[in-house]
C-alpha cells in the first residue's frame, strides 16, 4: 500500500483498546505527550465484546480530568476502524496530527517538576 502518515506518532500496541486505562492516558500527558488517540475496532466488532466501548468511555472520562487539570480535553480522541483499513488509519493519523498542531504543544512541557523528596 506504501501509505505515508506523520512520523511524530508513536504507536503503543495493546491487545485491545479495552486495555487502555485512564492512568495510561494521564501518564502520557504527565510525561509530555501533546496528544493521544486510541484506535479501536469498529463498534460492535470487538473480539472481547465491549473493549472498544470501554475505551471510548475512558476517553470521555479523561476529557473531564484533563479539563480539571487545565489541559484541553480534546487532546485525547477515539477512532474506530477495521484492521483492513490502512488508508483510513493514515487519514486519522494526519487528522489527529493537524488537530494537535492547531492546539500547540502540551502546556506541561515548559513547566519544571518539583524534585522528589528523599524517601
Amino acid at each position: 500500500m506504501r501509505l505515508t502518515y506523520p512520523t511524530n506518532i508513536k504507536i503503543v500496541r495493546v491487545p485491545c483498546t479495552g486495555k487502555v486505562d485512564v492512568m495510561h492516558l494521564l501518564r502520557c500527558f504527565q510525561e509530555g505527550a501533546d496528544g493521544v488517540y486510541c484506535v479501536g475496532c469498529m463498534e460492535g466488532n470487538c473480539h472481547y465484546n465491549q473493549g472498544n466501548l470501554r475505551c471510548r468511555e475512558r476517553v470521555e472520562y479523561i476529557h473531564e480530568l484533563l479539563e480539571e487539570i487545565g489541559i484541553e480535553g480534546d487532546r485525547v480522541r477515539m477512532y474506530n476502524l477495521s484492521s483492513g483499513e490502512g488508508p483510513t488509519f493514515a487519514k486519522y493519523a494526519q487528522e489527529m496530527t493537524d488537530h494537535i498542531m492547531s492546539l500547540g504543544p502540551n502546556p506541561l512541557k515548559a513547566k519544571p517538576r518539583k524534585a522528589a523528596a528523599s524517601a
Binding site: Q30, L65, E68, I69, L108, R113, K114, A117
Partner: protein, 227 residues
C-alpha cells in the same frame, strides 16, 4: 460495604493550597472495592494533582501509599516510618470518613485532608454502581419488613408505612424511586407474612445521632483499658 466518591478536583486543589510535600494515603478495603480510594485511584489523583500544580507554577511533591485498612491501628503503623517529622507538610486520605479520622488522630501534628466524600453503606449492583441499603441506625427492623430497609429506602424513613404519597409502586419524590413500603408489602405478601406489616413499630431511639461504641461479645475491654 462502605462506599465513597471522590471529592471535586477543585475542592481538593483548594485544600492543598500552600502545601508542597503531601502524602496521599489510600485504603485497600471498602473504598478500593467501590473504586473511590484504592491504589489506582491514589495514582490517578496524584498524577492529576502533580500536573495541575505544575501548570500553576507551584509544583507539588506528592507521594502515594495504600494500606490495607485505615480503620485499624496495626495497618496504620506501617506509615510511622514514612511519616517522620518534616517529611510531609500534609496528608491526604482517600479512605472513608472513619479512616480519615483515624489517620488524623495518629498524626495529630500534620494536617490531614479528605479526598473523598463517604456516601453510605451500599450493595454492588454492577461494576461501578452502588446502591445504598443501610443507614446503620442500630435498631434493625429487617425481620418484620421482609428484608427491605424502610429507614434507607423510604424518603421519610417511616417505620410504619406506606404514607399517602405511595403511587403505583413509586414514591412521591420520583417515579424512579420505588416506594419502600409497597415493596415491603409485596415481599411479605409473597411470604404469607402480611401480619408483620400490621405490627406497629414504636418510635426510633435515634441512636445513630450520638457517637456509638461497639464491643462484640467476648471482646470486653480489660478494666484498665475502660478507664
Amino acid at each position: 460495604m462502605i462506599v465513597a466518591k471522590r471529592k471535586p478536583f477543585a475542592e481538593i486543589m483548594a485544600m492543598l493550597e500552600g502545601y508542597d510535600k503531601v502524602l496521599n494515603v489510600g485504603c485497600g478495603t471498602c473504598v478500593s472495592v467501590c473504586l473511590a480510594g484504592g491504589e489506582k485511584e491514589v495514582a490517578v489523583l496524584n498524577t492529576e494533582l502533580e500536573m495541575a500544580r505544575r501548570l500553576q507554577d507551584a509544583p507539588l511533591d506528592i507521594q502515594g501509599h495504600t494500606i490495607e485498612r485505615q480503620c485499624d491501628r496495626e495497618y496504620l503503623a506501617e506509615l510511622d516510618t514514612m511519616i517522620a517529622d518534616g517529611k510531609f507538610d500534609a496528608l491526604l486520605s482517600m479512605a472513608c470518613g472513619v479512616g480519615i479520622q483515624f489517620l488524623a488522630e495518629r498524626y495529630p501534628r500534620i494536617p490531614t485532608f479528605p479526598a473523598v466524600d463517604t456516601t453510605g453503606l451500599a450493595v454492588n449492583q454492577a461494576v461501578g454502581w452502588y446502591e445504598e441499603r443501610c443507614r446503620s441506625c442500630s435498631q434493625c427492623v429487617l425481620g418484620t419488613t421482609g428484608g427491605i430497609c424502610p429507614i434507607t429506602m423510604c424518603a421519610k424513613g417511616l417505620l410504619n408505612g406506606p404514607c399517602g404519597g405511595t403511587n403505583k409502586g413509586s414514591c412521591e419524590i420520583s417515579a424512579d424511586q420505588p416506594c419502600a413500603w409497597f415493596r415491603i408489602h409485596e415481599r411479605l405478601s409473597g411470604q404469607g407474612r402480611l401480619d408483620a406489616i400490621r405490627k406497629i413499630n414504636t418510635t426510633r431511639g435515634w441512636n445513630d445521632q450520638t457517637p456509638r461504641n461497639l464491643i462484640q461479645p467476648g471482646y470486653k475491654k480489660p478494666e484498665r483499658m475502660a478507664k
